[in-house]
């Protein structure tokens, strides 16, 4: 993951696809007949949800491997995934809230999917607060891994919440009848391009932050060794 060529390629591909998705949203895809222009927020809201959930799934996988193997690499990966997931989850909630105002007439409602998403956001917020406020010790990493695994259990609940409970949140990708709600092929293409753009953006952010956290972990070890060597060198015996 520490290859500058791949990182640069990812960065440029992401930029190109983000611009393409912007063009498709504002100039190519027709707005929904019922919701009007506000429905176009959907083309970023869904990809944001996808990358947020993928991040939190990765936090759980990294947490399991950290608890199993105890390798710092998995802790760094989990931390990087939690941070990027939190960025995308926050943006997903904000975009959804802006969509809800003209469609539902309110910025927020305690609907089952929204509430479960908010709980997910709070749990990963707690994870990041723990990591930011405590030293990078193995004990903190273990706590973080457990929180990450437990919090990720909320992701499938968020996904199936529109089918489990009465909710006003639309089920567009897979409707309650089992079909998808995108009647125009241009809608499908725009969503696919946006999904690809955000997946690449997520991979790019993840790669950058993971590389930084790996470097920081190695530098912490090196600083410890230098401190020991300094003490040994200044000790007359």
């Amino acid at each position: 993951m520490n290859n500058p060529t791949i990182r640069n390629w990812l960065g440029f591909s992401t930029l190109a696809l983000m611009l393409a998705s912007l063009f498709m949203v504002f100039d190519y895809v027709p707005p929904d007949a019922e919701m009007g222009i506000a429905q176009l927020i959907f083309y970023y809201h869904v990809p944001l949800a996808w990358v947020a959930f993928a991040s939190f799934g990765l936090v759980a996988i990294a947490g399991i491997f950290y608890l199993w193997l105890g390798d710092q690499l998995w802790d760094d990966l989990g931390y990087a995934a939690a941070e990027t997931g939190m960025v995308f989850c926050t943006l997903m909630i904000i975009a959804g809230s802006i969509w809800a105002k003209p469609i539902w007439g309110t910025w927020w409602t305690w609907d089952s999917r929204l509430t479960m998403t908010f709980i997910l956001w709070l749990m990963y917020g707690g994870y990041l607060m723990l990591r930011a406020s405590a030293d990078d010790t193995p004990q903190v990493a273990r706590f973080g891994a457990v929180i990450g695994i437990v919090a990720a259990m909320d992701v499938p609940i968020v996904i199936v919440s529109v089918r489990l409970w009465r909710t006003i949140h639309p089920a567009v990708l897979v409707t309650k009848q089992g079909t998808h709600g995108l009647e125009d092929p241009r809608m499908v293409w725009t969503l696919l391009v946006s999904l690809t753009a955000f997946t690449l953006l997520w991979a790019w952010f993840l790669m950058l932050r993971f590389t930084q956290l790996r470097t920081r972990s190695r530098m912490s070890k090196l600083a410890g060794r230098i401190a020991l060597a300094t003490v040994a060198a200044s000790d007359p015996k």
Binding site: I37, I41, H45, I94, I98, Q212, A232, A233
Partner: protein
């Protein structure tokens, strides 16, 4: 374009501003890491140049 264009514009603007700010955050973290690395290199260089305590003086000293 429509009655709700303000909402659409706000949503996309916030997303792109947030992405830009996160890129800036990553860039600043990288700058801080580079500075920390330089400090470590300087400490390491000082350690390797300094003779160990109790060691005989170097002939060129």
């Amino acid at each position: 374009m429509g009655a709700h264009f303000g909402y659409l514009f706000a949503a996309y603007s916030i997303i792109f501003v947030a992405i830009f700010l996160y890129v800036m955050f990553i860039w600043r973290r990288q700058a801080a890491l580079d500075a920390e690395l330089r400090t470590l290199e300087a400490r390491m260089a000082a350690l390797t140049e300094r003779p160990a305590a109790g060691a005989p003086p170097r002939p060129d000293a």
